[in-house]
Symmetry: C2
Subunit: 150 residues, 2 copies
């Protein structure tokens, strides 16, 4: 339910972000940012590269990697690992959870604020300092269920 910004808004918004974090605003970074904003499927670096390439044909894969690392450092995105060995990138940095399909590995966001309120088991008191609760649900998504039946 996130509002998609209009093109010109993105530029203004991204300029602010770059200034705030002291990084240069480049065409490549802007387009990677744009792709990330439009993505709701937690793409891998390779997938992001392919999407950006449609707009910036001369971009290189390692620039995508470098930019993603930069974006992660400044807290613009989150790197996630799930059932795959390759990383995926999540432009949603606010606390939320994931449902992952065991078959197609598609990752979908969901929120469940109530989970924060439930007291943790006693045994964890001595583990250290817990900062975040991340829940990953696993199962078969609708599409894969369909395919299994068909």
């Amino acid at each position: 339910m996130k509002e998609k910004s209009v093109s010109s808004d993105i530029l203004v918004e991204f300029r602010k972000i770059c200034e705030k974090h002291g990084i240069k605003l480049t065409y490549q970074r802007l387009e990677i940012y744009r792709v990330l904003l439009e993505a709701d499927d937690h793409p891998s670096a390779e997938e992001i590269f392919l999407r950006v390439q449609e707009r910036v044909p001369t971009i290189s894969l390692d620039t995508v990697y470098r930019t993603l690392a930069t974006f992660e450092k400044v807290g613009l995105i989150k790197k996630i690992y799930s059932l795959d060995d390759k990383a995926r990138f999540d432009p949603n940095v606010s606390p939320h959870h994931h449902v992952v399909c065991s078959k197609c590995h598609r990752i979908t966001d969901f929120s469940w604020p109530e989970i924060e309120k439930i007291p943790l088991p006693e045994e964890l008191k001595e583990w250290g300092e817990i900062k975040e609760r991340y829940l990953e649900l696993r199962g078969l998504c609708k599409d894969c269920l369909q395919r299994e039946k068909g």
Copy 2:
């Protein structure tokens, strides 16, 4: 609180497992199995290789990889990904959750059966069929907290 088996028990137990799944009992597999049983720290393939190597100096890393893949296929272990890009292996295949240290990346098991009972948010009803709930807590472990202060 899992009882560690005595050496001879392991052999008997592992022979049964191999028969059950129709895989051959080899020295290498037995020793990898032993290392997994003794491990409570979710080692990577490389770490498992190093530990097995102390007992079987001629073992090769790719045998470790192949064996871990076989063990996973028959349901003896679980492959897990967390903050790292490299896989770790969990000899505990019963449903349980993890606390991960954001600094040292150490993974510790914990169980929280109550989490199963809590009804999931409505919006997930239409996602598909959810089979498993996995919770990952993140924070700083005791050791890393100490080091940060010191």
